[in-house]
Amino acid sequence: MLIPCPHCGPRDLGEFTYGGDATRDRPDPHSSPGGGASAEDWCGYVFYRDNPRGRHVEYWHHGQGCRLWLKVVRDTVTHKIEGAEIVGPWADAEPKKQRGAA
């Protein structure tokens, strides 16, 4: 499987580590006056996962490359990848200049 790293280009699966479901949001610990999200919210975030057949949004870590965390949209049946984006403050950084480009 090739993952299209927005920073490095298409790279082999072996360079990445799977980071799990990227559709869940970490509960905001300060969201309610009682000291944060409910136990159910945390349980859902930490333990419960869907196992969708088909389109899925996943975290992948390019640990053997640029070390950026990516959100990858992948079909769990065909392994086809719709796209990948950088997660976090580096998402909007200038892409690395292509070799040979001016």
């Binding site: 300060h30 975290y59 640990g63 392994h79 976090g88």
Partner: protein
């Protein structure tokens, strides 16, 4: 079967070889099969279950019967197909699954027990009330059924891995593949052409093609030719796996060459031209040596100059098999009869039949093979497509070889791995490639195109299209002219030719001894879906993966269920196409090269001083520095004692080190660690705990504040990489607003811990510019300075409980600083100590490490509850207060001392001394053990149910696997200097 070498055969160099110890001669270019056939050998092996005599069935990878063990000793390779083994001087082959000999096999009585050993025998016999009987019979059954045996010796050969990239990969170098490769190469595409055979060309090598395109294709910078290479698997993103047999045709690999080379090929486009495999027709005793696929008979004649028999008969349902008649006639081999299931046959086939002088019996089928251990004749009956074979109107025909053709099965394996379900073609009576789900095209026989001329044309078109898809303008070479030939285009669907009450066992899967009756039985017992059929009867599950049997099995099940074949379905093919040696998959990654080895900057020094090294993950660390025949225990006790008495030094370079920088670094650490980091002053270190989101303890280590916005975090050796990944995740996905950057600096720093009452004196003697006084460098203080001009960080940290310092310097200066420190320590008797003594010292202090941080413990379990803040949010804080994690009955850290002098085993379970139950109830377990020089007894750390409330209790640490029981007393884990006065000195 009485095969022989044709007089007309071009005689090559003589090659000597042995089969079951008997000497034979073949000629260069032979396969083991063709050479044995030329020597008149007809018995090649015994069958899997019934031990029936088996001969040669095919001339290729589909061979189900002629399986032999090749070579001996460490190079012995079981279950090789004699049909694809290239003969070499001195080759040794041995037959399999027979005892005491191939000709006389006492296990053949299994054949008489046939009705008992039918499909499902083991389940029915041993999975019900008689389940216990399995334990008794298993040994005998395993001995009686099976294939060859592995050698159990280490593989002496070397294997290589290659990665290759190309525009167009062409799999199969027959007519279609050759043309596809030539066309793509002519267009300028970078091409790889792979074929499993030793010579490229496939049927072009034998058939009359006016201009042989082989002549025009040669390896260039842009064209890689890979003969003897099987593309065995089609994976995601057009990645294909292939194995090149570099040296299997030689007695041993040539120096510098591997035995096999694994290729990972990434292709932009793939042309699948994998051809087709002939299939037989089922009849009684159709496994008798002498019964062979029709095209195999042709190949032995045309490629090897070997006649498969002296009186050859043919049984066919299609025109294609007449090619074999033509080839055998041309070579002067007598054909006695052609048994043709159809009433009408093609003109060309009829002309070939007439010219051969054979009796042509149209509308007939073979109902049974006759003879003893090998074929002497065939029973033939009239055949009506509606009624089947006649019960009465039959006759016998003498023959020592029967060539059978039931049509052709396209080789769909790769297409199926990277495509949709196969499509059934009623005219060809064959499955064809389904929808392409990756960029591939099929051409030639694997696409149902059996005529050479059409295959050439289709190959050229596929090659051009593949090149065009890569952006190359098509430049097709001239198509060679192929002769007219009879083609297997519309075989009559005859699957099982027996009359209703036909005699003899009728095999569908020769390799796994699955009969037509087994398929009927599976149907009667409800195993009707194709997946159930396969698993219940084991049809198609052996090393040949049913290459000649799957479609027939399906057809027979379809007949039972009165459905069409596509309604019954087909199983999906999985890699590999043919067996792949584990060596090829492992490549160079074996033994010491199985994974990388990490060495610290001080590694050479440790080895030079005779340290016994041990692996810690990928790292190598000194375990002990033994002196003059010391045991491990003697060595670590001496080392630990010297640290407590004077001073010692240990290499701690393997600790994970992460540089944390940025204006929000302190805030970030405060959210990552369970204890507070916001107020850590510059020049100070703090011990921190990291929890997982689920509230369990994950990692620990000290983090040093080097400046306002810069920290050096240390982690355990094992978690260095996961912690960094987690920090990166948090900064990317959870707190993108924090301005922090993290970088691994584990390998940039060499680290050494100087411990013992004299450690201050040692460092003060060599450090240029740090005031080492207790006031200037207090406990947990960090200072930058120089040792011998080398920049260092000195941190006053203690894992041993002694006055101690960690000295970090650039890895390249590690050895210099280390040696300098040891020289300075000489007056104090300073010694290097290993990780055993490191463990002893920390166990005496009750400091936790990997065995206690096992992923199932909480900070509270380990007595570290005070380090879990209740006033801030951090990773894990939301879940740490869960009921299950605060239950007082949880296993908690306590210490143990051996009260009977026995050595406590790590992993031993703690049980009450008076518990007589079997097994006794476990109250917890021992995690870390050492002999304590300070206490002069064996001590241990362990996790005990509600441990702290049981101090003083007498328990037993039991290790039933070795029958070791040690009486222990529960004590505080802080065995030595619980007030910590020594490290604050």
């Amino acid at each position: 079967m009485s095969g022989y070498r044709l007089e007309s055969a071009r005689i090559g160099d003589t090659v000597n070889f042995t089969f079951d110890g008997k000497r034979y001669q073949g000629v260069a270019g032979d396969t083991l099969a063709s050479a044995l056939l030329a020597n008149g050998v007809d018995l090649f092996g015994r069958s899997f279950k019934y031990h029936r005599p088996r001969g040669l069935f095919s001339a290729g990878v589909e061979e189900p019967s002629a399986l032999v063990t090749l070579g001996c000793g460490a190079r012995a390779e079981p279950n090789t197909r004699a049909t694809v083994v290239e003969l070499f001087e001195g080759l040794e082959a041995t037959s399999q699954n027979r005892w005491p000999s191939l000709a006389l096999d006492v296990m053949a009585v299994n054949g008489l027990a046939g009705p008992i050993l039918s499909a499902g025998f083991y389940y029915k016999t041993f999975m019900g009330p008689t389940r216990k009987a399995w334990k008794f019979y298993e040994h005998f059954i395993r001995k009686a059924a099976g294939l060859g045996k592995a050698s159990f010796l280490p593989d002496p050969d070397r294997y290589e891995e290659m990665n290759a990239f190309c525009d167009v990969l062409v799999v199969g170098a027959g007519p279609a593949g050759m043309m596809a490769a030539m066309t793509a190469a002519n267009s300028g595409a970078r091409v790889i052409l792979a074929d499993e055979q030793s010579t490229l060309g496939g049927n072009l090598r034998d058939s009359a093609v006016a201009t042989n395109p082989l002549a025009k294709l040669s390896a260039t910078d842009e064209v890689t030719l890979l003969p003897r290479t099987t593309v065995y698997g089609y994976y995601d993103d057009n990645t294909l796996g292939a194995v090149e047999r570099v040296a299997d045709h030689l007695p041993a690999p040539v120096k510098g060459q591997p035995r096999e080379r694994h290729w990972t090929i990434r292709a932009r486009q793939v042309v699948i031209a994998t051809g087709a495999i002939e299939r037989p027709i089922v009849f009684g005793d159709n496994d008798k040596p002498g019964v062979m696929l029709a095209d195999a008979g042709r190949l032995y004649v045309e490629r090897h100059g070997v006649a498969p028999g002296r009186q050859v008969a043919l049984f066919t349902n299609n025109d294609g098999a007449y090619r074999s008649v033509a080839a055998l006639s041309a070579a002067g081999v007598a054909i006695t009869a052609i048994v043709e299931a159809r009433q009408e046959i093609g003109d060309q086939a009829r002309r070939i039949a007439a010219a051969s002088g054979a009796e042509l019996l149209t509308g007939h089928v073979v109902t049974r093979a006759l003879g003893g251990q090998s074929l002497s004749g065939i029973a033939v009956a009239t055949f009506d497509p509606k009624q089947g074979a006649s019960e009465s109107a039959h006759r016998h025909v003498a023959a020592d070889c029967l060539l059978v053709s039931g049509g052709w099965t396209p080789t769909l394996h790769l297409a199926s791995q990277a495509g949709g379900p196969a499509r059934w073609d009623d005219t060809l009576t064959a499955f064809l490639p389904g929808e392409a789900l990756q960029p591939w095209r099929a051409a030639g026989a694997c696409n149902g195109t059996f005529a050479t001329a059409t295959a050439l044309d289709q190959g050229a078109a596929a090659g051009a299209a593949a090149a065009a898809a890569c952006g190359f303008a098509s430049n097709a070479p001239d198509l060679p002219q192929a002769d007219d030939e009879p083609v297997a285009e519309a075989p009559l669907p005859v699957w099982d030719a027996r009359p209703k009450h036909g005699k003899g066992k009728a095999f569908v899967d020769l390799q796994h001894d699955v009969t037509a009756a087994d398929v009927s039985l599976a149907h009667r017992e409800g195993f009707r879906s194709v997946e159930h059929l396969k698993r219940y009867t084991t049809l198609g599950m052996a090393t040949d993966q049913g290459k000649t049997s799957n479609v027939i099995g399906l057809a027979l099940m379809a007949r039972e269920r009165q459905l069409s074949i596509p309604e019954v379905g087909t199983t999906r093919f999985r890699p590999p196409y043919t067996p792949v040696s584990l060596g090829a998959l492992a490549g160079q990654a074996r033994g010491a090269n199985f994974r990388p080895t990490r060495r610290t900057a001080l590694h050479d020094w440790h080895e030079a001083k005779g340290a016994e090294m041990q692996a810690a993950g990928l790292w190598m660390r000194p375990r002990i520095y033994p002196q003059g025949g010391e045991t491990v225990e003697q060595a670590y006790v001496r080392e630990a004692r010297q640290v407590r008495q004077s001073v010692g030094m240990v290499d701690v370079s393997t600790l994970g080190k992460i540089d944390v920088q940025g204006p929000d670094a302190a805030e970030f650490l405060n959210r990552v660690y369970s204890n507070g980091f916001l107020k850590l002053p510059e020049g100070k270190a703090r011990y921190g705990l990291m929890l997982r989101e689920d509230g369990f303890l994950w990692d620990d280590g000290t983090t040093w504040r080097l400046s306002e916005a810069r920290f050096l975090m240390t982690t355990t050796t094992a978690n260095a990489a996961p912690v960094l990944s987690q920090l990166e995740f948090l900064l990317a996905a959870v707190w993108p607003e924090l301005k922090v950057a993290v970088t691994s600096v584990t390998e940039q720093w060499a680290g050494m811990a100087v411990s013992g009452p004299k450690s201050r004196d040692v460092i003060a003697a060599v450090v240029d510019d740090i005031d080492m006084s207790n006031e200037a460098l207090p406990f947990m203080g960090v200072r930058a300075g120089h040792i011998g001009g080398v920049p260092v960080l000195v941190a006053r940290l203690s894992f041993s409980g002694e006055l101690a310092y960690e000295v970090y310097c650039g890895a390249h200066h590690g050895a210099a600083v280390w040696t300098r420190l040891l020289e300075a320590g000489e007056p104090f008797g300073m010694i290097p100590y290993g990780v055993e003594a490191l463990g002893t010292l920390r166990i005496e202090k009750g400091h936790v490490a990997g065995p206690e941080l096992d992923g199932r413990t909480t900070a509270e379990d380990l007595g570290l509850a005070a380090m879990v803040s209740t006033r801030k949010h951090f990773i894990g804080s939301a879940m740490v207060q869960r009921e299950g994690l605060t239950d007082p009955q949880r296993l908690k850290l306590v210490g143990f001392v051996s009260t009977d002098g026995g050595k406590i085993r790590p992993g031993a379970h703690l049980v009450a001394a008076n518990d007589t139950a079997s097994p006794p109830r476990s109250l917890g377990h021992i995690t870390s053990v050492t002999y304590s020089p300070a206490l002069e007894k064996y001590i241990a750390l362990g996790l005990l149910e509600d441990g702290p409330s049981r101090l003083g209790a007498k328990l037993v640490a039991t290790y039933p696997l070795k029958n070791i029981d040690v009486a222990v007393e529960v004590v505080s884990p802080h065995f030595f200097d619980p007030e910590g006065s020594r490290m604050h000195a």
